[in-house]
């Protein structure tokens, strides 16, 4: 029982990292209707910036994370402007391939700047481990902060999209780009804002990911990125609560699958989930079914 609980805690910890990454995928997909496969690599950049800020420039953790958010926000907007905006009228396949290209570009650029040697990411979270049930169940500071960060981000984003003018503009663009434009909404600015928010979240995700799993290399973001994409599809891509639910469930499935079924097949469970969801409920757990208008 205790070991089941601790696997559950580990699953939630892993899942909440997936959830934060999945949020970025989901938001961008919801508004720009494109899969930003470079998202995982923006996470990696965020982690490297934080690493440099704490290790080389000696900045305190909070400032480092803010610096990483700033850099990633700018990076996200620049990527959108340079790589995706010119293709807004192109087929979705062209945009998808551009995104994959951007992902490789970021990985190779990181290898050029920071070298290919892995770095050990010093945790920016100093919260002590919480010990429950007489020390049998341990919850690390990283897990608590990650879960907490998830909840806060989720609440703030939900309020932002439902209450603020910008948020409402986002939802309008996501509903119907053409109609939104006719209503006087600046579609380009709204999409840029989405990328800015998504990339700032990526920086936070990068810091949380590397605090929990402290190996940092240019490919750090790619596997979690793909799994988070799976989580986003699982929860219903485009839906903010869907990303949270999808991420958490996926993390728990991965860890429990590894613990009780087969240790080698951890990754296979994750992608089996993707296949099953696509077969049974293509819109995901919380996704809305949108009828194609003919």
């Amino acid at each position: 029982m205790i070991s089941f609980l601790s696997h559950l805690v580990n699953g939630i910890s892993l899942g909440s990292v997936y959830a934060i990454i999945a949020l970025g995928y989901s938001m961008v997909y919801g508004i720009a209707k494109m899969l930003n496969f470079a998202h995982g690599d923006v996470i990696m950049v965020g982690a490297y910036i934080t690493f440099c800020a704490t290790q080389y420039w000696g900045l305190p953790p909070v400032v480092s994370v803010l610096a990483a958010m700033l850099v990633c926000t700018v990076l996200g907007v620049v990527i959108e402007r340079l790589a995706y905006k010119p293709l807004r009228a192109a087929t979705s396949l062209a945009v998808l391939i551009t995104a994959i290209g951007m992902s490789y570009f970021l990985q190779n650029a990181a290898q050029l700047i920071w070298g290919a040697n892995p770095k050990s990411f010093p945790s920016v979270i100093t919260l002590p481990t919480l010990s429950l049930m007489g020390g049998q169940l341990l919850i690390s500071g990283e897990t608590m902060v990650t879960v907490l960060a998830n909840v806060i981000i989720m609440i703030v984003l939900t309020i932002f999209t439902s209450k603020t003018k910008m948020g409402r503009a986002m939802r309008a663009v996501s509903e119907d780009k053409g109609a939104a434009e006719l209503m006087g909404i600046n579609v380009n600015a709204t999409i840029s804002l989405t990328f800015a928010i998504g990339s700032a979240l990526a920086a936070v995700a990068g810091v949380l990911l590397c605090s929990a799993y402290p190996a940092l290399m240019p490919t750090t973001g790619s596997m979690p990125g793909i799994k988070a994409f799976t989580a986003a599809v699982f929860g219903g891509i485009g839906s903010i609560p869907g990303a949270l639910v999808g991420g958490l469930l996926l993390g728990v499935i991965e860890i429990l699958g590894k613990a009780y079924i087969s240790m080698e097949l951890g990754d296979a469970f994750v992608f089996a989930v993707l296949i099953i969801v696509l077969l049974v409920k293509p819109t995901g757990l919380l996704g809305k079914k949108v009828h194609e208008k003919v």
């Binding site: 040697n117 770095k119 050990s120 481990t129 341990l138 690390s140 190996a215 596997m223 613990a259 951890g266």
Partner: protein
């Protein structure tokens, strides 16, 4: 414009003449290993260690050696490219490759083409299996696995052993299998055998929990140092502190940038080389290495240093010159390697016809961020 092009071309020609000139009076040794990528610590250590040996030998004034270092990024395909490059550059023999997977690929090519290979550190038996032209400076994986089990048993490090290995890696599986075999033979109780499937794996909570819940007091890690660093960090977060016992792949963990060395406190690893040894050979090597590269050399650097001296000895005995082509050199070296005995940094070595080395294993423990020989 034309003049500039002509000048550049003339410069290039002049430079290429120099390149030929230096190649002509030294015996060329190709060095292949990961100079970039996740395993770069190993490749650069080999290149640096070999360079120190070459500088020493060249300073003696007799036979002159020259290294041609090529990067394989720890990738089989790129290993073949690097192999073709060193041969194109006129290599007469190869010191390498450094890591197992590319080495298996390159060794197969080298066997066909008759190029002599001495790998400092690729430890799988697959590297030498069925190939008379490939020799190893390091222990084979089976030897490492069996020696680790023997060491844990002899020194009574623990009564219950857990294992975390990478079943996606030939290197890790090879060591794991002989460890298990030897452990059975010695009645060493193995309570948890856990695996992961890729070098990129980040979450080890399940594997650590399995070892912890089964009460393992020694955890054997026949894996590379990047996943090992994650295991150490995650074990600490669940307050699990057994003796972690690694093999040569663990070597390099202390050079991982940003790594909290406290995590590695008490970690043991099987290695034939310990930089704090008091003999003159080690002191000389460590001193020169530190001066040239600013860090303490690891086992890979020592293996490469010994490898160059083994080649040097064999070259001397067989009378290989800069005129000898690689195929001729290959047959001469194969015959000679089985006869020579090298007293090197990693012990006194002799070789069997299979290419396998014989030397005594020792272990080091990490104390205050440095390797200390186990008394």
């Amino acid at each position: 414009m034309k003049k500039i092009v002509a000048a550049v071309l003339a410069m290039m020609m002049a430079l290429s003449c120099f390149a030929f000139a230096s190649a002509e009076d030294a015996i060329k040794i190709g060095v292949i290993g990961p100079m970039t990528g996740g395993a770069a610590v190993y490749g650069t250590a080999v290149a640096n260690g070999a360079q120190i040996a070459v500088d020493e030998i060249n300073a003696l004034g007799g036979i002159q050696l020259a290294l041609d270092v090529q990067d394989d990024e720890h990738d089989a395909e790129k290993g073949i490219n690097a192999y073709n490059t060193v041969l194109d550059n006129g290599a007469q023999m190869i010191l390498g490759t450094v890591t197992t997977a590319p080495c298996i690929a390159v060794a197969a090519e080298a066997y066909e083409e008759r190029v002599f290979m001495l790998t400092p550190s690729a430890s799988s038996t697959k590297v030498i299996e069925g190939k008379d032209n490939v020799y190893q400076v390091c222990f084979t994986d089976p030897a490492q696995g069996a020696a680790s089990a023997q060491y844990i048993f002899d020194h009574k490090l623990g009564t219950k052993v857990g294992i975390i290995y990478n079943n996606g890696s030939d290197y890790s599986v090879g060591i794991y299998q002989t460890f298990i075999e030897k452990a059975k033979e010695l009645n060493l109780e193995v309570v948890a055998e856990t695996t992961f499937s890729s070098e990129d794996n980040a979450d080890f909570s399940v594997q650590i929990a399995a070892c912890k819940d089964n009460g393992a007091d020694v955890v054997f890690l026949p894996i590379y140092y990047t996943p090992a660093s994650l295991i150490l960090a995650q074990a600490k977060s669940v307050e699990y502190a057994p003796i972690f016992f690694g093999v040569d792949g663990m070597d390099g963990i202390l050079t991982l940038e940003g790594f909290d060395k406290n995590l590695a406190e008490g970690v043991m690893l099987l290695t034939p080389f310990s930089a704090d040894a008091e003999d003159d050979l080690t002191k000389n090597f460590v001193g020169k290495y530190q001066q040239a590269y600013g860090e303490i050399p690891n086992q890979f650097a020592a293996d490469a240093y010994d490898g160059v001296y083994a080649l040097y000895q064999a070259i001397q005995n067989t009378g290989i010159t800069t005129e000898t082509d690689y195929a001729e050199a290959c047959e001469l070296l194969i015959a000679e390697m089985q006869k020579i005995e090298i007293a090197g940094l990693t012990g006194t070595m002799t070789w069997a016809a299979t290419g396998e080395v014989t030397k005594t294993p020792t272990a080091v423990v990490i104390e205050n961020g440095v390797y200390v020989g186990v008394k």
